[in-house]
Amino acid sequence: MTSDPALSSLLAVLGGAISTVGAIYVGWRNRTLNHRLARFQEQLADVVLKRQLCLALGSRALMVGERAAEVRRSLDVLARARTKVRIAEMEKRTERLDRACDALLESWTEVANWGLASDALRESVDRLNDTLETLRLGMLLTPGDNHRHAAALSATEDLATNCQRACRDSADKLVSPSLA
């Protein structure tokens, strides 16, 4: 304790100043941390969304492959069925494949619109869609050529698996942000 009033006042002023500076610093630090945290959350949400888009495309590609496998299996199973039954069943399975393709296209559009279409991904979607186009055109032009359709369907299954792999690789390349 000091008895010098001038020194006391000086210490009081100094104490006040330190406390003010401290409060300003804490405020600034909080604001900076909050800002960094907000930015981190934003970046994290962005990466999570982009990963989800890539993975969704991959699962839709797999669905196309599964539907193609269904159609291919039904070619064998229905080969001995009556024509009417065969046509009805094939139509049903082909429609399921069509719906899977529509979902793939929708997902691909989103991936491309978000700027996530890497060359590898584009290449695999390109090859898959080319094969689907060959399949559809073949089914329209030579509906009874099961051997040809089976080959195109089998290629679709393989390419769909490749596409799913490319999607997973794209998702893995998206690096999560860090707070450091």
Binding site: D102, L105, T109, D119, V125, D126, E133, T134, R136
Partner: protein, 143 residues
């Protein structure tokens, strides 16, 4: 290589570097009354466009070239339009949908199709639509 398919009808220049798809698509177009001339390379397409041959529709694969990101097919559209201003252009692609293509830079393109995305009935309808487009273009030109 350019392959001319003998048939009567709407004359379609089909530019696609995938011979299997080009052949199948040509067969389907012919089923609806198209007479298809296939150009498998950009050079063939340019030669056809510069020739005196008459076309009612030009179909361009957008991704003509070295890879799926290559849009040389699309780049052919303005030249096609300059040489054949009355001929409608249909662009199609396996990796670009209409919303992803710089359509504002290509007002000359009349229609965009996505490969592999149509059901069988829709594929038939869109093919019939292309032949019809050519028929209308020819009728307008002959007026």
């Amino acid at each position: 290589m350019t392959t001319e398919k003998p048939a009567e009808g709407v004359r379609i220049l089909l530019v696609d570097d995938n011979p299997e798809i080009a052949d199948l698509r040509a067969s389907l177009l012919e089923r609806f009354g198209g007479e298809v001339i296939i150009a498998l390379t950009l050079k063939d397409a340019e030669a056809q466009l510069a020739s005196p041959a008459q076309f009612d529709v030009i179909m361009l694969d957008v991704n003509l070239g070295s890879g799926p990101a290559d849009m040389r097919g699309l780049a052919l559209a303005p030249e096609s339009h300059r040489l054949r201003p009355d001929t409608p252009i249909v662009a199609y692609s396996s990796v670009f949908t209409e919303s992803q293509l710089p359509m504002h830079e290509h007002p000359e393109i009349d229609r965009v199709l996505a490969k592999g995305s149509l059901g069988l009935a829709d594929l038939e309808d869109s093919t019939r639509g292309i032949v019809q487009l050519g028929r209308e273009a020819r009728a307008n030109r002959d007026k």
